[in-house]
Amino acid sequence: MTAAVVLGVPCFFSDGFSCYLSALIEVYHTLTTFPRTGKPGRPKQPLKEPHPELVYGQVIKKKQKGRLQELVSRVRCGAKRLEELGLSISTSLLERLNLTLRHALAPLVRKSASFCKDRTQMRRRVVLFQAFYNFARPHMSLRGPLPDQEPHASGLIQPKWRHRTPGMAAGLTDHVWTFRELLTAKFEPLHNQSSSG
């Protein structure tokens, strides 16, 4: 899913969940084929090896009685490239997004009666929130200061910040979308449309 949206091979960081590495290799890999030996028997299957540019690091938390004891970082793929890029292995941004989601969608609230009864409806809510978060909701950490202006006589409170959305920061759009705009946007058909969601 991510591979269809991003350009090139980014660095991947996750927790210690074991499924990610095999899933990443399934998407980002190089096939090593073996020549036929000429001997009887089944030919050797091509081998999937991690893509040379693939970087995958894990952050593993060791807890005891609910308290964090140790934080172990482990590079599973592409240690050399990770060193060149100088990135630190962390999942803190995503943990913050998880909290944002839990604060935004009623079915994701912990220990509440408003859990979702249908997987489709749950998916619809998340998709709507994704578009809203990326294009219509200004993000406080992305805002920039407005240039100094002459104070207007009419207004006592002058705006100080230029609000930005994640979509604006990524260069996908040039303005903060209104909610109505989100519901009425129209596009030309994509000729080379890739899978999304």
């Binding site: 991003v6 090139g8 660095c11 990610y20 941004l93 009623a106 709507l128 990326n134 030309e188 969601g197």
Partner: protein, 179 residues
Amino acid sequence: MRKPKDWGQPCPNSDCSHYRLMNRGNISAISTYLTQSGKRRIFLCSTCERPFSETRDTVFFDLKTPEEKIIMALKMLLVKVALSDIGFVLGVTEATVLEWLRRAAQKAEEINAHLLRELPVTQVQLDEMWNFIRRKHAKEAGPGRREHRVERGRAAMGVDQFRPRMPAHPGGVCWPPDL
């Protein structure tokens, strides 16, 4: 008749040669009509000579409900308000809100498909989030575990498990089923 090129309206007629193509100079505004949400434009495609409303292919198409109400319901969905609460506040049924959600999610998917492509990102963080969708524990619990099921309570049960006993007479009190 005004013919600006930036109406931003594609022709919705699938038989037209300008189907879903924008800013080709084939769309012109021919009239308006009044709704509860204010004035709306009617456009005409000069290629296929078919008129269409400005709400075509939007969430508001073919809805009599005021736009403000729909927008409010969808905004409430995004600020942790439960579905039944939205229905209560706005005076609509839950099915109505879900239908608005379906339309909005369809539009959101379209937006994501068009704009979230070939993103130049350097790092991607992966994580999983656990959530319950229709808990089955109450159903799985056997008849001998009655007290256990009571502890789980109504809040933890799916709708299909929670069937309140009907009142003996109209206007009577509904009470939770025997757990």
